[in-house]
């Protein structure tokens, strides 16, 4: 049995520039619930507490969105994303009060220990807690496994590995999932981005390597070139003989009727997205890079390559302006 986690209402929030409203959330969450999706992640793209100048302000308060979703789901559990350093335990308590039952605590792949406090708090609150390692392409499998083992020791219910830059190829996913499975007793999950067109192949590789949880979004709606397309994943897993307990036709119809009409741009691999994957840059930087390129009269690709060279991690959207400024005004030294 493979558990599908839908993150249309969280990663998809990036693609909608954090503009979800109550009605859209009710329709999507209600539809996912009817289709048997076990967990529905709903948050600002950068997690609860993410509404800001840096990541974009939420048009509707995220806690109001959670509450609206909570009013329509019957069997699905609502999950939130929390990035320590951005969101806090106070935010988590509020999310729980509004109906969240699970939290995914996301840290950069080398920094699991900053999430110990939040995972412990989630367990104290009686929530399902997931240790979520971002940008796993930046560490070799054995180091990913070490950090996953830390996440397990803090009380995680499963470990989710994210290819946040959409950089990995299937072998890289297989190695990482296998290394983590060998290091922990809890299940492993995988979160893909489609920047190199690998989201589906990577998700399948993850399952074949033993992953039991997979993330996806309707129509692939998400940061960069988007995520694994959930309705397609549902079909692919059926064809491959994996049970997911989801309604394949229902997900297709929901994607067509509820998500496609609200998309701001087609979820294709445009040149910026391709460069995210190629240069290993955090996917949610994309739209901010387009804004900065526009403002400074630069080619988005050049900004992305420089961000990759500087090894920027998730959450460093503020450095896009820094890079753009310095590309435009090259300084003699010490950048």
């Amino acid at each position: 049995m493979i558990t599908l986690i839908d993150t249309t209402l969280r990663d998809g929030s990036h693609a909608l520039r954090h503009s979800y409203n109550i009605d859209q959330v009710k329709t999507i969450a209600g539809g996912l619930d009817s289709c048997g999706v076990k967990y529905i992640e709903i948050s600002h793209g950068d997690g609860i507490g993410g509404s800001s100048f840096t990541y974009g302000f939420s048009k509707t308060d995220v806690f109001d969105l959670i509450q609206a979703a909570s009013g329509v789901v019957k069997t699905s559990k609502l999950a939130v994303l929390l990035l320590p350093g951005i969101g806090t335990i106070e935010d988590l308590k509020e999310a729980k009060k509004r109906g969240a039952k699970a939290v995914r605590v996301a840290t950069h792949v080398t920094e699991a220990d900053v999430g110990a406090q939040h995972i412990a708090a989630a367990k104290d609150l009686g929530m399902f807690a997931v240790g979520f390692l971002m940008m796993t392409h930046m560490s070799p499998p054995e180091l990913v496994a070490e950090e996953a083992a830390k996440m397990e020791s803090y009380g995680s219910d499963y470990i989710n590995l994210a290819d946040s830059a959409g950089y990995l190829l299937p072998e890289g996913v297989t190695e990482r999932v296998k290394a983590v499975k060998a290091a922990v007793k809890i299940p492993v999950g995988f979160h893909a981005h489609n920047n190199l067109g690998m989201a589906m192949a990577n998700s399948l590789a993850a399952v074949q390597a033993g992953a039991e949880y997979l993330d996806g979004t309707l129509r692939g709606l998400g940061a960069g070139a988007g995520n694994t397309q959930l309705e397609v994943l549902s079909g692919v897993l059926l064809r491959s003989g994996y049970e997911t307990g989801t309604d394949f036709y229902g997900l297709m119809d929901l994607a067509r009727d509820a998500v496609e009409p609200i998309m701001l741009r087609p979820q294709t691999i445009d040149n910026g997205s391709l460069m995210l994957g190629y240069a290993g840059v955090y996917s949610s930087f994309l739209l901010h890079v387009y804004n900065a390129a526009d403002k400074y009269g630069l080619e988005p690709r050049d900004i992305l390559v420089e961000l990759g060279r500087r090894k920027m991690v998730g959450g460093q959207e503020d450095m896009i302006i820094d890079v753009a400024y310095h590309l435009k005004n090259p300084a003699p030294a010490e950048i």
Binding site: T88, E90, E111, V114, A116, H118, K311, Q316, D318, I321
Partner: protein, 293 residues
């Protein structure tokens, strides 16, 4: 000239770096380095001729010459042991933990108001690096909302910071309002593991109340503040000068440490320590009856 004797509680990285800064000061002198075990930090202090003790705050309180003590331990140790013991011995606490028993101090903004306090809290490293800029923008154009992003190298984030990220964000947000003067504050912290380590960078974004003031006036106010800050943090500089879009002002600063005990990329630790020493020097100058530095 006479110097005021100070104690340092907690001979870890922060405490050791503080010691070097104190030893350079013309107003301060190391009276004692106190820890609870015979650690590397204790050995280092002893080898430099500084009196040491493994009796912690007790040894500091018992030393009648000590007038000011830096607490570089933890918030809980400050609240439970160190603050009460120092207070009962008439020693002023300069608190580098997030305990925040006493008022927040950002020297370039509010030190003058705090010279009568018994316990001064140094906010956070990110707060020391960004609140002066928030205040500089606010005094020029008002601040309805201020947001900061502090990026520090993973290597300079110690176990205390890592175990309590919320303390950083919550304390910094609160000081953005209380000291920076913004109506609302938000703080974000990011650890970046790149190797070689990145310098501490901080982005400050403020929604101003009166954008008609114009960017030149705001820039002038920020430049004055940077000049002021560089007196105690020589490695502080604007990476990206202020940019104005509508009512939003954005600027990015970089803090290079002085490399006293900690590496230069640990600008985050350098700035909070330099701020703490600047605060102690001001208090010491007052005790010595000389003009403030």
């Amino acid at each position: 000239m006479d110097r005021v004797k100070v104690g340092i509680i907690g001979p870890g990285n922060i405490g050791s770096d503080l010691m070097y800064k104190v030893m350079r000061s013309k107003y301060l002198e190391m009276g004692i380095m106190a820890g609870i075990v015979e650690s590397e930090g204790i050995k280092r202090a002893r080898s430099m001729g500084v009196p040491v003790s493994t009796e912690g705050v007790k040894a500091v309180g018992a030393n009648k010459e000590i007038r000011i003590a830096f607490d570089a331990t933890s918030a809980s140790a400050h609240v439970r042991f160190n603050a009460p013991a120092l207070r009962s011995n008439g020693i002023i606490s300069i608190d580098l933990t997030p305990a925040a028993l006493g008022p927040y101090c950002v020297p370039s903004v509010n030190l003058n108001e705090l010279t009568e306090e018994q316990d001064i809290n140094m906010v956070t490293c990110g707060g020391q690096a960004t609140i002066p800029i928030v205040y500089a923008i606010k005094r020029a154009a008002g601040a309805a909302y201020a947001e900061i992003v502090a990026c520090i190298s993973s290597k300079s984030a110690g176990p205390g910071t890592r175990a309590n990220m919320d303390e950083f964000t919550e304390t910094t947000s609160s000081a953005i309002v209380k000291v920076g003067g913004a109506d609302k504050g938000k703080a974000i912290i990011i650890l970046n593991p790149a190797d070689p380590p990145l310098m501490m960078t901080n982005t400050i974004m403020v929604r101003v109340k009166d954008s008609s003031v114009g960017i030149d006036k705001i820039r002038e106010s920020i430049d004055d503040m940077v000049t002021n800050l560089r007196e105690y943090v020589p490695g502080y500089r604007l990476r990206v000068p202020p940019i104005m879009e509508g009512d939003k002002v954005t600027t990015i600063v970089q803090v290079e440490g002085q490399g006293d005990f900690l590496p230069k990329f640990s600008g985050n630790l350098d700035i909070i320590n330099s701020a703490a020493v600047a605060a102690a020097e001001r208090l010491a100058a007052k005790m010595l009856g000389v003009g403030a530095n």
